[in-house]
Amino acid sequence: MINRTHNEKAWLLVLPVVILVAFNAVIPLMTVVNYSFQETFGNNQFFWEGVKWYEQVLNSERFHQALGRQIFFTATILIIEIPLGIAIALCMPKKGIGVSICLVLMALPLLIPWNVVGAMWNIFALPDIGLLGRMINGLGIDYNFTQQPIAAWLTVVLMDVWHWTSLVVLLCYAGLCAIPDAYYQAARIDGANRWQIFRFIQLPKLKRVLIIAVLLRFMDSFMIYTEPFVLTGGGPGNTTTFLSIDLAKIALGQFDLGPAAAMSLIYFIMILLFCWVFYTLMMRDESEQ
């Protein structure tokens, strides 16, 4: 046995990162906690309000609707992007010149700044001058995402799928490439068909990257702001106002610091909770073994 020596000086080595995290996460978060219990009318004067803002947010119709839209949006893009990402990754070539071409093509949407993505799709989908908008209208379908809620939704979802499916593809592709050839050879010898190879070899081996993909896509889409903000501005009406857009409206548009802070914290805890539930559910199998 090796004897452990306790050396408290080791804490010094962690200090830089503790300071860094404190300044960019903990202190701002605590400021928000502070705001969420107080009322201010400017002038840097604050009055204690207790849990009033929390009650107000949790009981507000506006918050419920934004949350509903948010959950529906996140669920929709997960249901589309995860299977689509796996399917594209399965179709990508495993060797040759095609690999680099596919990887570059896949990475392109990820390299574009978020607000540019929003602006691009805004112009692309405009019914009078946009390529997509004019094409759809040319087909005889009445489409105007600035006025029709359904069209706005479809456009936002399509934009997100275009922007982020690549991430799922790249993760899955990396996962697929990590499967040793012997598995495929054994499957061929055992007489497995294409579906069985997917079901019993590829999918189980992809499980870990899929957990990461789902978590990343969940968090990102649950916090989505820039792209829909630039594309639709949350409209028409409030139909594409997701939680963070609503939050920004309250905090910056109406300058209601207290309710905005309370909403931020509720929002934060929700994401944390969802991630925890996802993670535990998906890892449950793993721990059984």
Binding site: P180, A182, Q185, A186, R188, N193, Q196, F200, Q289
Partner: protein, 361 residues
């Protein structure tokens, strides 16, 4: 089970092979008898796995054909060839139970449930997997998983050949012995044709009836362990099999015998008609060099006791040799005389053993 014939088989990974080096497998014609236990032995990169994958059908040979019982299977898929293969790393279906893993190849061949049950429980019993049949395969240890891989091969009663690609690499040394003897036992019981790829000579010698020694894509010799030891057909075989390997002495043939430099070797067999050879060498194993009253004068550089044997490094002129003697035997101190056992002294012409020279007396 089947007899396997390789006809003028060769393989290259390059599209238009030109030089000799482009061929991963050089042209070969070989026969593997029905029910035999073969080992494919050779250093890493000698083409063992390529040959194995060609037999199993995972790879299509560039030229030549493969016959199972005189029937051409060159164009058939692994599934159609009805073979089993165990890979270097355990390949199991993680999400399935051990039972489902073993039953998988049978289910895919549409056997009825009763037969599947019976075969699986037989194999599980053989491999001592009964207690974990209902567990998930992912939870097993490396050797447990390797047993499953093995079991998936054995579960089909009608396989033509079972192939092992260095299957014990990831297994504990202690369990290696157990699994290897298990394999031998299975072979004796069921008489499968088995081909076992390895670069470990002990593994090859203990497992196989016949050993195929390969180097640089070429089959150098096929033989029993005794044949490989006593009559290595190529200097490489002599060097690769045995520990330490065979002594190889570059020689020139003169009228009165073989000379290494200016020293005449203690060999009496004829030495004349070798003018056409590019290189001539004498091979003799350390076991067959012995100290005696007369013979070649040598200096003794080093002498080690390696348990049951003593290993001496001896030298004459610039040539170094190894000599093995039993540990009871007293060896001379710094210099002595050695002789070669004529029965086990071989002449190699351009690397290959001269078999006619060997029977001269």
């Amino acid at each position: 089970m089947a007899k396997i014939t390789l006809n003028n088989l060769a393989h290259s990974y390059v599209d238009n092979p030109e030089s000799d080096e482009d061929w991963a497998l050089k042209e070969m014609t070989l026969e593997w008898e029905d029910g035999g236990a073969y080992a494919l032995l050779g250093p890493s990169g000698c083409g063992k796995t390529t040959l194995l994958n060609i037999i199993s059908g995972l790879l299509k040979p560039s030229t030549g054909s493969i016959l199972f019982d005189q029937q051409d299977v060159t164009e058939l898929t692994p599934e159609q060839r009805n073979i089993a293969q165990v890979f270097q790393f355990p390949v199991v279906y993680d999400t399935m139970t051990v039972y489902d893993n073993l039953a998988f190849p049978l289910k895919n061949r549409n056997l009825d449930q009763a037969t599947i049950n019976q075969r699986v429980s037989e194999v599980a019993q053989m491999l001592e997997l009964e207690s974990v049949l209902n567990k998930k395969a992912a939870g097993l240890t490396a050797d447990g998983k390797q047993k499953i891989s093995l079991g998936r091969g054995l579960v089909r009663s009608d396989v033509n050949v079972i192939m092992f690609d260095e299957p014990l690499t990831v297994i504990d040394p202690k369990l290696k012995w157990l699994l290897r003897s298990k394999l031998k036992e299975l072979h004796r019981r069921f008489n499968f044709t088995m081909i076992y790829v390895t670069h470990d000579q002990t593994e090859a010698l203990t497992f196989a009836d016949k050993i195929v020694v390969m180097e640089q894509g070429k089959v150098l010799q096929v033989g029993t362990s005794q044949e490989l030891f006593e009559q290595p057909q190529h200097t490489f075989v002599g060097h690769f099999i045995g520990s330490p390997g065979m002594n190889r002495i570059e020689v020139t043939a003169k009228d009165d015998g073989f000379y290494a430099g200016n020293t005449r070797l203690p060999i009496n067999k004829s030495s004349t008609p070798y003018n056409h050879a590019k290189s001539l060498s004498i091979g003799v194993r350390p076991e067959h060099v012995y100290f005696s009253d007369q013979g070649l004068d040598v200096k003794i550089n080093k002498c080690e006791d390696i348990g049951r044997y003593k290993l001496a490094n001896i030298q004459f002129d610039d040539t170094e040799l190894k000599l093995l003697a039993s540990s009871e035997q007293a060896l001379p101190e710094s210099s002595g005389r050695v002789n070669f056992d004529p029965k086990f002294t071989h002449l190699y012409v351009d690397g290959w053993r001269d078999n006619e020279w060997a029977i001269l007396e």
